[in-house]
């Protein structure tokens, strides 16, 4: 073995020596959740942590599901996330088109109105927004969870950058062929912007699906609440003693996105990678 090859293989091992312990630390909580969720009650309180399954107590899941309407929560999560995402995609497409491709006075200033939204998360405006929902008589509805997120400054910005890169000749050609704004947008711009739309869609999906704070503020009844809130309520209801049931519920709440992530792993990492700022 040449000295260079030797050094390289040592370097290869060194990476694993550094990263493997960190990886173990990162995975341990997930494993601990999963393993606890299939332990029988007496196993949970063993003084020595049991990391390997000795019993498969699947009843924990059926019991957790029977104690709280987790399937209703799941359905609500689907409706809320899908509704938000659909609205966002339409709104950001229209706005980004106007900001990137139409020439009008003040378009650059308007872009800042969109970007500045990043500085005002819902945690900064939830009190007045709650009052708005109260006034609109929308409290305790799924619509109230959706509305504040329909306009996305981040999505508009990302898509605007993409639309700007599409050459003007393409637009001129489309115009000569008699394409109006909407047809040009639909048939030319959107297919070209698909990677950006997917990237934004994935990120928005993950953040909307996992959102806890705003749904907690505006909803009250289990009939409209999404999964994360369902878990929070289950915790309070069980007052934190039956760890096997609590972890079964936690598994159930975390599983949908984790499964999607495992199946479409490359897709997700690429999507999030594509969202980073370029240059």
């Amino acid at each position: 073995m040449t000295s260079l090859g030797w050094r390289r293989s040592v370097g290869g091992w060194a990476v694993h020596l550094i990263l493997a312990p960190i990886a173990v630390l990162m995975v341990a909580p997930l494993w601990w959740m999963a393993i606890t969720s299939i332990k029988p009650r007496q196993e949970v309180f063993s003084p020595i942590p049991q990391w390997l399954p000795r019993f498969f107590h699947w009843q924990n899941f059926t019991e957790a599901l029977s104690r709280a309407p987790f399937l209703v929560y799941l359905w609500n999560s689907v409706v809320i996330t899908a509704g938000t995402l659909a609205g966002q995609l339409v709104l950001i497409t229209l706005a980004a088109y106007a900001l990137a491709r139409l020439r009008f006075r003040g378009s650059e200033g308007l872009l800042y109105v969109f970007i500045l939204q990043l500085l005002v998360p819902i945690q900064a405006t939830f009190v007045p927004n709650y009052l708005t929902m109260h006034k609109l008589d929308l409290l305790d509805t799924r619509l109230a969870i959706i509305l504040p997120f329909l306009a996305s400054g981040y999505g508009t910005f990302l898509l605007c950058q993409t639309f700007k890169q599409i050459p003007q000749e393409l637009e001129d050609a489309a115009r000569i062929d008699g394409c109006g704004h909407l047809r040009f947008l639909w048939h030319v711009l959107l297919p070209l912007a698909r990677p950006t739309l997917i990237a934004f869609g994935l990120i928005s999906f993950v953040f909307r699906w996992n959102d806890y704070f705003w749904p907690l503020i505006v909803t009250d009844s289990p009939a409209v609440r999404p999964l994360p809130i369902g878990l929070g309520m289950f915790v309070q209801q069980e007052s934190g003693a039956d760890w096997n049931l609590l972890m079964a519920a936690t598994v159930f709440v975390s599983a949908p996105l984790l499964l999607l992530f495992v199946v479409f792993q490359r897709f997700f990492t690429q999507g999030f990678l594509g969202s980073g700022l370029k240059g």
Binding site: M26, L94, P228, I229
Partner: protein
């Protein structure tokens, strides 16, 4: 629909349909010698209508495309800022029908309140500890997994997956991990002969525990953004540095770090904003306790608004939060922007 407007204008003014760019003025002029007077007037009128229509379309298109987003932005992002600022001057419990103008009373109350100071300090503590640690670890991991070696995608997946888990679930898992009696964390700390604190029940260790959960959940996301930045650095910069005989540390200082400065800038701003968003972990793990040691700004506003129903004070706090956030982001971007190096 604007396209159709355009068509109406096009045919309405009776211009030669073969012309690519409709020009009513020219059309009228060409026809004028042969045309009767009223036709000419008609043409001029149609031309005026047409130009009105085009002007409308020119303004109308951006308005129609932007209006939906702008309406929602104004209603749920910008109007609330003003609304909170306005309500901050009132004494208003939501259970009582009338709000009473109170001037700066809410703000004066906050200034005199030790708890408010404690809450601010908690937020500062969180930010000062969480932001640098998260960014440093994320950068370190990004550089490691950016190297091409067998298994690097595995590591990326493992570091990134907590982003997919709701913060509530993450908080629950960590409450169980940190359980003083039966959790694995304290078991191994004791085994190693290290002090095993009571974590969420301890005045000193509750906040570090909250920060630990945040780090576990957010580092992967930061890492991915850094990774995106790293992949944009052209290889020839490293090759040039290697030719000059630069070692790994010099290469990092001269190439990697300056090229990543826009990413670092972006992440730093995002991190400041997330510091002002901390709520879920606190709500699930400690409810602000013990003795308000983990009570942060958002949680404190939540308590005032939805436990004491004091909307006036909650609005004043909201205003303070937004002003603080804007000042910090503005200050950070002023300091950092000069140091950001764009390729």
């Amino acid at each position: 629909m604007f396209h159709e407007n355009f068509q109406v204008g096009y045919f309405g003014c009776g211009v030669d349909p073969g012309g690519l760019v409709p020009c009513p003025g020219r059309g009228g002029a060409v026809r004028a010698p042969a045309a009767r007077l009223d036709t000419q007037a008609e043409t001029i009128l149609a031309g005026a209508v047409w130009s009105r229509l085009t002007r409308l379309t020119r303004i109308g298109a951006p308005v129609a495309f932007l209006a939906p987003s702008l309406i929602f932005l104004l209603a749920f992002t910008y109007w609330p800022i003003l609304h909170a600022f306005f309500l901050g001057f009132f004494r208003w419990n939501i259970n009582t029908p009338n709000r009473v103008f109170a001037g700066l009373a809410n703000y004066r109350e906050l200034l005199l309140e030790p708890l408010f100071r404690q809450v601010l300090l908690n937020n500062i503590y969180y930010g000062l500890l969480a932001i640098p640690v998260a960014m440093a670890i994320a950068l370190f991991l990004a550089i490691q997994v950016n190297k091409r070696f067998a298994g690097c995608t595995w590591y990326r997946t493992i570091f990134f997956y907590p982003t997919m888990i709701p913060m509530v679930a993450a908080a629950m898992i960590w409450v169980w991990m940190l359980n003083p009696g039966y959790g694995p964390v304290n078991y191994y700390l004791k085994m190693l002969g290290l002090p095993a604190p009571e974590w969420l029940y301890s005045m000193e260790w509750a906040m570090p525990a909250i920060i630990m959960v945040s780090l576990w959940k957010h580092i992967g996301y930061f890492m991915i953004i850094y990774l995106a930045g790293l992949q944009n650095i052209p290889d020839d910069l490293y090759e040039a540095a290697a030719l000059e005989g630069a070692g790994p540390w010099v290469r990092f200082r001269v190439v990697t770090w300056p090229c990543l400065s826009p990413t670092t800038y972006f992440l730093f701003i995002i991190a400041i904003i997330t510091t002002f968003q901390v709520f879920d972990q606190v709500y699930i793990m400690t409810q602000g306790g013990p003795a308000n040691r983990t009570n942060v700004l958002v949680y404190y506003i939540y308590q005032n608004a939805f436990q004491f129903w004091d909307m006036g004070k909650a609005s004043a706090l909201t205003t303070v939060q937004i002003v603080l956030l804007f000042c910090l982001v503005w200050g950070a971007s002023r300091v950092l922007r000069m140091r950001v190096h764009y390729q």
